[in-house]
């Protein structure tokens, strides 16, 4: 049986070697410990790096863990090397991605209904970037493709899991609150409308 220290050291070295997120199950298998214990050790590491204010952080992506740099020292890295930049997504890509992220699994038709505009090109682009993937077929007419987000999506946005997304209910509330605010100043104009026509 390996000591706690050895297990954590092994996880560090394994994450470093792998680069991409290391699945808890796989890590637990290699060490011969339970998934639950493995997960607890990863969380401990995560806390340590954060609390010690290190330049590396342990990031969780859908039940897997990876080393990434701390965003606190971004400026230095940028000064050191112009790192191969992940490209920012376009506005339309972000919109489509938001619809998929919150409504998944979702068909192209449903996405287009929300945006009022075709989005086959955007979908293709997102799929090529690995941010979305086909996750099945709808039972509806023509059995259209259902889309969902991928782990690459989580990594690109720094989300731990899909539950980590800002709550859609909050968004709805935010929209409504804003509307109410808007409403307060509008009463007088509303009457004018019928007259104007």
């Amino acid at each position: 049986m390996s000591s706690k220290k050895t297990i954590k050291a092994a996880f560090e070295a394994m994450m470093f070697t792998l680069g991409e997120p290391l699945d808890v199950k796989l890590a637990a298998d290699v060490l011969g410990i339970s998934n639950k214990d493995a997960c607890a050790y990863f969380k401990e590491l995560q806390d340590e790096y954060e609390q010690e204010g290190r330049g590396l952080r342990v990031r969780e992506v859908n039940g897997a863990f990876q080393f990434v740099t701390s965003s606190d020292v971004y400026d230095y890295i940028e000064r050191l090397c112009t790192p191969s930049k992940k490209k920012k997504l376009s506005q339309s890509a972000l919109e489509v991605l938001a619809i998929i992220a919150y409504k998944q699994p979702v068909t192209r038709g449903e996405i287009e209904a929300v945006r009022g505009i075709k989005c086959d090109r955007v979908l293709e682009g997102l799929e090529n970037k690995g941010l979305i993937a086909e996750v099945g077929r709808s039972a509806g007419v023509g059995r259209p493709i259902l889309y969902g987000t991928t782990d690459t999506f989580l990594r690109h946005f720094g989300f731990t899991s899909i539950e980590d997304l800002p709550g859609i209910d909050d968004i709805e509330n935010a929209v409504h609150e804003q509307e109410e605010d808007d409403d307060s100043g509008q009463v007088t104009f509303n009457l004018n409308e019928s007259v104007a026509q």
Binding site: V68, Q91, R155, D183, A196
Partner: protein
């Protein structure tokens, strides 16, 4: 006018509409359709005049706006004091705008997350090629697969044995039709009856070959009028009656 800025930046007809409504400081729940339609159409015209492609989707929404506008001109049937949203020709449009706004806001939220995540770097995988050359081989086996393989083998073996068995039987029992006819004649004598069933004849050896030889022998005997064959119904018992020589002569 607000709608003249950033001409091509809109992500679709709803995006443009939301922009116009917000720009006019209108409430989404009480859109001044006439005003907004005019602005919307002016915008599209502007796009046209600058030879920017106007997607069909923009025209579709323009048509919808005009339709709503005309409905608004009709006298309202509902009591003025009651706000009957279901009767409001704008209600479906409002719903769709709200839905679109919700996801536009969600897009803004995930864009913020993207901004933060872009400040974080992953590293590529280390060179692990030296491990890849010698894979750990392990046997994949489960009991079901094992049993299936064994059952398949037993089945195969059983089939082969059956074929062998039949082959051997034919060798041993190569009795001719002539021999069989003689046997059938003697059978009537031995049984002391002049009427027997087919089953009686093959009782001692119900094998396939014997059954077939017996049957052909009976057909041959029937052809020569040595016997009469009777069967009352399909697949029923076949009765064989010996025809006495003198009757046949007569």
């Amino acid at each position: 006018m607000g709608y003249k800025v950033k001409l091509s930046v809109f992500e679709g007809p709803f995006d443009l509409l939301v922009h116009l409504i917000e720009n006019a400081r209108m409430s989404i729940y009480d859109i001044k359709v006439a005003e907004i339609t005019a602005q919307y159409l002016a915008y599209i015209e502007e796009m046209n005049s600058r030879e920017i492609y106007v997607g069909a989707e923009f025209i579709v929404l323009a048509a919808a706006l005009i339709e709503i506008k005309s409905k608004m001109l009709l006298p309202r049937i509902t009591n003025e004091s009651e706000t009957d949203m279901t009767g409001d020709p704008r209600s479906e449009l409002v719903e769709r705008i709200l839905e679109y706004k919700k996801f536009k806001q969600a897009a803004a939220l995930i864009e913020e997350a993207e901004q933060r995540a872009l400040r974080v770097f992953e590293k590529p995988q280390e060179d692990i090629s030296r491990f890849l050359d010698q894979p750990d081989e392990y046997l994949q086996m489960d009991i079901k697969q094992f049993m299936n393989a064994f059952n398949l083998f037993l089945h195969k073996k059983q089939k082969i044995e059956e074929i062998k068995k039949n082959y051997a039987r034919v060798e041993r029992e190569k009795i001719t039709v002539e021999q069989k006819i003689n046997y059938i004649h003697s059978y009537f004598g031995l049984a002391g009856k002049d009427k027997v069933t087919f089953t009686d004849l093959v009782k001692e050896n119900p094998g396939r070959y014997n059954t077939a030889v017996t049957f052909s022998s009976l057909l041959e005997m029937a052809r020569k009028n040595e016997i009469e064959l009777m069967q009352k119904h399909n697949f029923g018992p076949i009765w064989i009656k010996e025809v006495k020589k003198r009757e046949a002569d007569a």
